[in-house]
């Protein structure tokens, strides 16, 4: 069996080959008994891989996940209630209609104040992030680093310390970490990181991503 055919067979089995490659594999299979044996083996392996979860219910863990989601929501509602309650929200409900208008105005004022506080904090956060990015742009360089699956947190910390690096972002969905190092030290840092077994990939990047 030739190398290309051997390489393509797994993707033939999982159905992700292009039409052109699939037709080529079909032609090869027609005249190659070894390849047909390998194909049969791969299909058996595919079936074996699926077997351990064949009895797993589709709602496994669903109740716990929903519980967590609702707990998050309840926490948010509690926060809002406590914020408004401090300004007499609970008593507003019990008050007579003639003074309800006054209470509503009070609530609006309280909400406005809350919104102002939240907005102000958000602005502060944004300013901090912008400051961090500006700092990264001026005095330091950013590295995107992927650590090996078996990397331990203690080893990662030691390594970051050795390259004068600090974590400024991550992990992203694909395990990307963003490490800030002093400007001028980036090449040495990259070389050191590449030499470490616990580092799977490292790259100098211009900025932090907008989302992870």
């Amino acid at each position: 069996m030739n190398l290309r055919l051997s390489e393509l067979l797994p993707w033939y089995v999982n159905g992700t080959l292009t039409d052109e490659d699939r037709e080529w594999v079909d032609r090869c299979l027609a005249g190659d008994g070894d390849a047909r044996t390998e194909l049969k083996w791969l299909r058996e392996m595919q079936s074996s891989i699926a077997q351990p979860v064949s009895d797993v219910a589709p709602d496994l863990g669903l109740a716990r996940t929903l519980q967590r989601i609702r707990a998050d929501r309840a926490t948010l509602v509690d926060r809002i209630r406590s914020l408004l309650g401090a300004r007499g929200f609970g008593s507003v409900v019990a008050l007579a209609r003639p003074i309800a208008g006054v209470a509503v105005v009070g609530v609006i004022v309280a909400q406005s104040a809350s919104i102002y506080v939240l907005t102000h904090h958000a602005q502060e956060d944004s300013q901090q992030i912008r400051a961090l990015r500006a700092e990264a742009a001026n005095d330091s360089r950013l590295l995107r680093v992927n650590f090996a699956p078996d990397a331990k947190e203690a080893d990662i910390r030691l390594l970051l310390s050795a390259i004068q690096g600090s974590l400024v972002g991550g992990p992203g969905q694909l395990g990307d970490y963003y490490v800030q190092v002093p400007r001028g030290a980036e090449n040495a840092a990259v070389a050191r990181l590449k030499s470490e077994r616990i580092v799977a990939a490292v790259e100098i990047v211009a900025s932090l991503p907008t989302t992870y």
Partner: protein, 195 residues
Amino acid sequence: MDDAKARQLLSRIARQDEAAFETIYRAFSRRVFAYALYMLKERDRAEEVLVDTMHEVWRCAARFRGDSLFSTWLIGIARNKALLVHRSRRADELHDDLDEVAETEVDELAPEGFAELAAKQRREGVQACIRKLSQEHRECLQLVFYQGCSLADVAHLQGVPENTVKTRLYHARQRIKNCLRLLIEREGANSGVSS
């Protein structure tokens, strides 16, 4: 569930639609669980990863940019969660990743020999051999043969070039074959003694 349907549901989840979330949960939970189980080899921890991953989907549905399949995005989240669990394990819990199979010499089997082997193999034997592979090889097999990921998607998820994926897949296949051969030889020897 196809990708277009998953994206529709995801946009409803971004608007806090619990019914949409339950639908997508039931459609993809087994895939996430299977992936986590292959990575961590423990059902309890795999379930934790499933719950964490789906909770993240609820929280971050609006962040899906649509530049990959929904399922690839989802497995990317699960991968990150599983790696966090893996890293938090104590070193002595990870001894079984240092498998002797990976260190043994990989023999090429003659096709006819392997046909015989394939005929004899047991499902449990294959699973036992897969469990002995390194995490990256197990993950590669899982992504290809269970998740149905393309070569480009596996490379993207594992953060390696496509050629590395091909090499991992090749070695994983060879090591399983070698492991199975050893198992069958051992079984043959044992049955010879008892008879």
